[in-house]
Symmetry: C2
Subunit: 216 residues, 2 copies
């Protein structure tokens, strides 16, 4: 029974890592589609998100069955509860990537008002956060989980920079307002993705320690 | 055993309704704080959100224990899975109310660039959606759950109006850009809250029918 449970947990973990990789990909593709104004890639993001949603449901159902059939106790309960929360956060990250794709399609082929440097930087940082936080889960590593919260601060800082830059751009050249607002939203979506990674980090600390924390 | 399970489910339902009411309140308070520029009320939103987070954790733990101890089958599994998802959506709504409060504190006592009419309207609509979707859950009413998705369209429409109005305002009076962007974010937060209510509606349809749907 016990080893059966562990086998199923290992399986869940593999699928969770897979879902995390899909989320890293969708962030990457959505921001690259924006940077290159590749509208076909932007449309692909919608398909990628459907796949993520499917995997979320699959993992969730397996968690439910595991809970119902194996009657796990305290720590295992928290672990499965954590998985259910993690997949929700990952799924929401996918939704934000879709939001980014939506804006990209809205911008279409109208020339970008500025070369994109910080937004792709934010994207890479958030992708790393997703990878790191899932490693933290796999290794029940609270220290690594906390690190993710500090990465979140870095993401917030870049966002603040983007915010100031775009606001000033709108004030100086009102004709840039529409696209600048769109880019502002994209910055916000990436910042939200980083927040979801931080949620996961906090959840992992709760899973390991049983203590509810809010990092930064 | 069975009746015990039903008793616990009824209990969970009561707490869920309670959580929904807390979320309706926090939306109301956050937007009223903005409209009246009542910074004390805006700060209260943070405390209200902590209470919502606590209740989420409490409900979640009870769901986990119920799953582990009562070994519910198919439909009951989906119901408990739905509760776990619902509380996540409700908790995220609370986070968005906090985002609204944050912006309100940022605006502080600098005069509003426009009388707020549409944003409070959006807020009322989203509060009604929260109430309606939890009624839909209690009564396993898929028709009502679908209605919520249509309300979501109404919210999106108001948001589109706000968006156009604020963009034009920024273009015509660049000095309004900072606050107009802030109000734009608030509109977006309310629109996201409505999306969470729609997620819940879709979840309820899945709970009742076993069919995964995406409304609108």
């Amino acid at each position: 029974m016990r080893s059966q449970f562990e086998k199923e947990m290992k399986n869940l973990n593999i699928k969770l890592i897979k879902m995390g990789e899909m989320v890293q990909d969708i962030i990457e593709v959505s921001v690259q589609a924006l940077a290159k104004q590749d509208l076909e890639a932007a449309k692909r993001v919608y398909v990628m998100d459907d796949k993520i949603d499917e995997l979320e449901l699959e993992i969730e159902n397996e968690c439910m069955k595991l809970l119902a059939l194996q009657q796990p106790m305290a720590r295992d309960l928290r672990t499965i509860g954590t998985i259910i929360k993690i997949i929700t956060d990952l799924e929401r990250m996918g939704d934000h990537a879709v939001n980014i794709a939506k804006v990209t399609l809205e911008i279409g082929d109208t020339p970008l008002i500025k070369p994109l440097i910080d937004i792709p930087r934010m994207a890479r940082l958030t992708e790393d956060m997703v990878k790191k936080v899932l490693d933290a889960f796999t290794n029940a590593d609270t220290k690594m989980a906390e690190e993710v919260a500090h990465d979140d601060e870095a993401v917030d800082e870049i966002y603040e920079g983007i915010y100031t830059e775009l606001i000033n751009m709108m004030i100086q050249n009102p004709e840039t307002t529409k696209q600048a607002t769109n880019l502002l939203f994209i910055g916000r979506y990436l910042e939200r993705i980083a927040d979801h990674a931080t949620n996961i980090g906090e959840r992992i600390i709760y899973m390991v320690t049983g203590e509810r924390v809010e990092i930064n």
